[in-house]
């Protein structure tokens, strides 16, 4: 897996490159927009991480240029501009996801994983998702585990679907709020935890092996413990 980091801040870049290498990425780094654009145009990447504020350039312009050449590589925008407005602008400008500096590395990796996987997967043609003995039929909108029907609310269905599509990956609370509830905000209490524990009661309670796991200090993950 190849990643391109376009970031002018030396500390952040070092930190990013180191972290991504530890997560088994092959990383290229460009410290300004021009080099970054050259690399993006000549190489094939699985993910691009672009800072918005580059010397003499707005990172959004790089993304627009890359997109104009028909390249649909997933792009994660990093930005110190923490406003909701900036986020909307970044996502409209061709970014796939947006993270505000400073960021928790788990959050960054979780988002990168989700982006890379989404791009790798065949477009959503599957009609059934499976994780271990948990089964979700996307057409019939039913959930079964070990052949037993599980009754879920529409929102729980979406939550579970997102977790299943990212099975084996850490999914953060913020990601769930953004992707499942479609709002970008800071909940004062961990309202997501309540929903997760309800879902857990439905899909794990009656069964031997728990699937929905809490990843300390980071978020949740759906996978069979091995």
């Amino acid at each position: 897996m190849r990643a391109l980091v376009i970031e002018d801040d030396h500390d952040v870049a070092t930190y990013l490159v180191k972290g991504l290498k530890e997560s088994d990425f092959v990383v290229d780094h460009a410290a300004d927009g021009k080099d970054g654009l050259m690399l993006a145009a000549s190489e094939d990447y699985d993910i691009m991480i672009v800072d918005r504020m580059l010397p003499g350039m707005d990172g959004l312009n790089i993304i627009k240029t890359v997109r104009a050449t028909g390249n649909s590589v997933p792009v994660l925008i990093l930005s110190a501009l923490g406003d909701v407005d900036d986020r909307v602008e970044g996502l409209r400008g061709g970014g796939d996801d947006y993270l505000t500096k400073p960021f928790s590395f788990t959050e960054l990796l979780a988002r990168i994983d989700a982006l890379v996987r989404r791009n790798r997967q065949a477009p959503e043609t599957e009609t059934v998702l499976r994780v271990a003995d948990l089964e979700m039929d996307l057409l019939a909108r039913t959930v079964k585990r070990a052949g037993q029907n599980i009754d879920v609310q529409p929102r729980e269905f979406r939550l579970l679907e997102y977790l299943m599509r990212n099975a084996g990956q850490v999914v953060t609370r913020t990601m769930l709020l953004e992707k499942v509830w479609d709002y970008h905000f800071d909940p004062q209490t961990n309202v997501i935890d309540v929903h997760i524990s309800r879902l857990r009661a439905k899909i794990d309670k009656e069964f031997e092996t728990p699937l929905l796991q809490t990843v300390r200090g980071a978020g949740y993950m759906l996978r069979e413990d091995t």
């Binding site: 110190a80 923490g82 928790s104 590395f105 970008h184 905000f185 200090g217």
Partner: protein, 497 residues
Amino acid sequence: MKILSQLKTSTFQLALLYMVVFATSVFLLLAFIYWRTAGFMTEQTDETIEAEIAGLAEQYRGRGINGLITIIRERVSRDPNAKSLYLLATDDYLKLAGNLSTWPEEAQVQNGWINFTLDDSVGWTGSERLARARVFEVQGGLRLLVGRDVQELTTLKRLIERAINWGMGITLALALLGGFMMSRSTTKRIEVINAISRRIMNGHLSLRIPTRGTSDDFDQLAENLNQMLDRIVYLMEGIRHVSDSIAHDLRTPLTRLRNQLENTLIAVDNDEARDQATKAVAEADQLLATFNALLRIARLETRGNAADKTEISLGELVADACELYEAVAEDKDQAFEQAISLDVKIEGDRDLLFQMVSNLIDNAIKYTPEAGDIRVAVETVNGEAVLEVSDSGIGIPDSEKDNVFQRFYRVGKSRSLPGNGLGLSLVSAVTEIHQGRIELTDRRPEEEENPGLSVRVYLPLYRPLKRKVLRTQQGQQSSAAEASDKPNSEDESGERA
């Protein structure tokens, strides 16, 4: 409507004041002229009569009563229009000579000057006329009346009076019109300044007030305002810069700390150490959240309201928030009632509004004991969207109600509960940039222990922009002035029992 608002302007009121002063001066001037003219004419009449009397007296002294009668007859025959009036009568008012047929009633009681009405028997006019005369007794019990017909004089006086009245009326009308026109051109220029100021207040900080280049007082005002705006923008940039620096300088090391704790979490396989690290990560997250909230509030407050606004169904947004939080309330065994009208549309920033609503619901759940009840309602009241979140919790004492919107302010009773004291500050900032207002009231004021709280947020309804109608007539462009028609009804209707 426009005329009414025109009448309220200080310029017009000034013009009106000037008009009153002006009209009073005109009135005094005309009154003086009238008084002098009329006085002068009356004096003239009296002098003429005196002269006549002097002439008659001379005749009488020289030729006795017969001479007097002769001279009266002579004078009457010389004056067919009967401008001068004479009447010589006996003691019991029988006519001896003169051109009046009878002794006027007004003259029977007094000597000296009298004013009386002539009947139509005198002269040739055939209408009642006014006259002025002097009467006195002549020796031997005879009475003599010498006077002048003053009808023309009176008519002239009436004319002058009418002219004065008309003159006053026209003066007033002209002054009113002039004041209106004068003040309107001034008002128009002020209105331009006002309209632009309103738009600037609504967040278009780059706008400036246009000047005509004449360097008159309005231009100077506009230039001063523009310079003030430049200064404000500069200061706001400064605030923004400072808050960005805080964000940058403090959040970054905090995040590093958090990342290191995460690494520790992964590295150690001692359960107790992990628990400690997990708690530390949670603390760091709490701190980061506080910084983020603080920065966000600062941003919102400096940004004004140039947010990316779209048409939003407030009802649906609140229903989404309820769906997210209902589970939390259920876990606390709280009744969670919703009365949400889905067709309430407002204009705003979706994420910010969601943050606001979730903060309010979060607070309601947090400050309400187990088995309490929470109610969320959205409705339209008096042309405003109203969001109400009420609970049966510990409430906020009246003395503290104004303070809770301050940053980091926490009501005494709530200090023991988790929270950073920024939730309501954020609610207030979001309401502000949506031109809304907040009301806090006790839900059950009679309860001592848990009076509960009812938070009402009023927001302007979404109004699709009315397209300007361009009329074909020249200069008939209806301007869509920004109407800031805030309903100021403070009544509590729409409250369902």
